[in-house]
Symmetry: C2
Subunit: 330 residues, 2 copies
Amino acid sequence: MKDLPSINAVAELADVSIATVSRVLNKSKPVSEQTRLRVEAAVAQLGYRANPFGRSLAKAQSHLLLVLVPDFSNPFYSQIIKGIEAVTRRRGYKILIADDSNLWTDRAETLDLSYFRLVDGVISLTHLDERPELMAEMDTLPWVACSEYPSKGVVPHVSIDHRQAAVDAVQYLLNGGHKRIALITAEEDYLWAQQRREGYEIALQRAGIQVDPNLIRTANDLDYESGGQAAGSLLALPELPTAVFAMSDTLAIGVIKALRRKGKRVPEDIAVIGFDNLPLSSVFEPALTTIAQPMRELGEAAAQILLERLAGGTSESRTLAHRLVLRESA
Amino acid sequence: MKDLPSINAVAELADVSIATVSRVLNKSKPVSEQTRLRVEAAVAQLGYRANPFGRSLAKAQSHLLLVLVPDFSNPFYSQIIKGIEAVTRRRGYKILIADDSNLWTDRAETLDLSYFRLVDGVISLTHLDERPELMAEMDTLPWVACSEYPSKGVVPHVSIDHRQAAVDAVQYLLNGGHKRIALITAEEDYLWAQQRREGYEIALQRAGIQVDPNLIRTANDLDYESGGQAAGSLLALPELPTAVFAMSDTLAIGVIKALRRKGKRVPEDIAVIGFDNLPLSSVFEPALTTIAQPMRELGEAAAQILLERLAGGTSESRTLAHRLVLRESA
DNA sequence: CTGAAAGCGCTAACAA
DNA sequence: TTGTTAGCGCTTTCAG
């Protein structure tokens, strides 16, 4: 394409040394008003912008951040990333997004590890246990986990209290008089899935209700169809549940559609409660009763922690508040 | 954090020159079996991975691509990006995503132009007319536009035939006997909005129906509420339309909800047709009749064109096929 | 306040 | 087949 001016061109035009140009560009040392103006004029005239590779090489930092995400077309994650973006951009960082989803399906492909030489830090929304090649990079760079975090270890993380949130959801159903409450869970690789399941069990036990394994289904994925399948298998039960706690709004919607197709009314015959409070959950009919996660804030908080660490600080993990949102489905 | 080994460390350990190390790393020149093995052993032992900044500086290319997107949490765009990611990752490129949405609302903020010094090429999904600071970068780097493209100029682009797609949608309604067909359009900055509107007008004219400006509403945004508002104002009309063509599925859903709230049945009282075929359009009830855009393929094609250009080739613009998807809403 | 020069980690031309 | 060396564009001592 076109050859771009380098710092040398600027120095020459302004009749100063490249060191001086660097100083005015970075305000790293005092420069006399007069030469500063000359340099600025030269910069403007040439349309000069620094080559980031030269800079990164010299300073050993790139102002690039890596966001590791299981699937960024999932609205839950994309909201979080919005939050991350908003705070990092303001501080002059750019984000590199690595979508991990191909990696799960396609065992052959593994995350290109050169990502980690490129960035100053990483925010991970993905599952890390059993990913030693990723965990190894935690000695190399500052990490922060968001929403999902390694079960053991010392990575600072931001998330809601999934266990308590699940207790709240199930308690709400119990308060409504439900006794046979089904659970649609996701693959329990994810820590949040385990914790929500625990919450489900705790709430039932507190109410003196025995956990019935027949009422628990594991969805293959987090999409509508998986929810529908799980609901279908629930409908085969001799005695039906009167309520369903689905671990995500997308699952809940799949469940509701499947129930309706079989002639069940929601919430009259079977109540359904979801999780996440995605934008579409208020649009779907019946509007979803669900646990709201503060997605944008999760992302913002994670970014803030990372940025502070990058600045030499040492911020800690945070737990943000969830909220029970009452609508029509339960 | 931790100091990472450089190419020097490898060279020393393998007892060769750094040039040789570089050669085995890049397979750029023949190296004897024996020394190659020594180098590889050293690399493995040290866990060496090349510093991308050194490499980029020397080769003047980064294997980074920029994706400019109006709002990546919009499922339409995130599907496209999935397509882009899939093909670029396979070729060893990483993508940097710049979300333009803050820029529209927040006039103060403007896209950090240093993005363009960092990447080898750019794929733009965003509106470029009236963005001279962006257009200027087209002389600097290879660009390809996807879905949206500059009205004039020479950027290769990938999209569907929006005009024809709109004709198809409206024709379908006409075939169903509709004569009063409303249009919910979006801000017509976007070329696709203009073209779809043209398609709407063409189809009506061909049917000998006069375009009635009273039946046309411009939504403020592409979200549910905007669709609802537009529908609300349509309902104030003395004579109601019998069908609505909404320029996106999200608008269509907003429209349907607003109509229902006013006691109108869809499609019996008013038929509604959408555009895009987002995943949720088949889940919503009534399931949306809509024009399907091949989102993933759009992204893949755009990425292929860019990659070929980067490789010295000269691929051209492509128009992909759309598809009318008949479901329940019209 | 300014300039010369070393060095960041790598590639590639040139020599051997 | 291998090594030496000159950059790539920038930041940062170190002198002055």
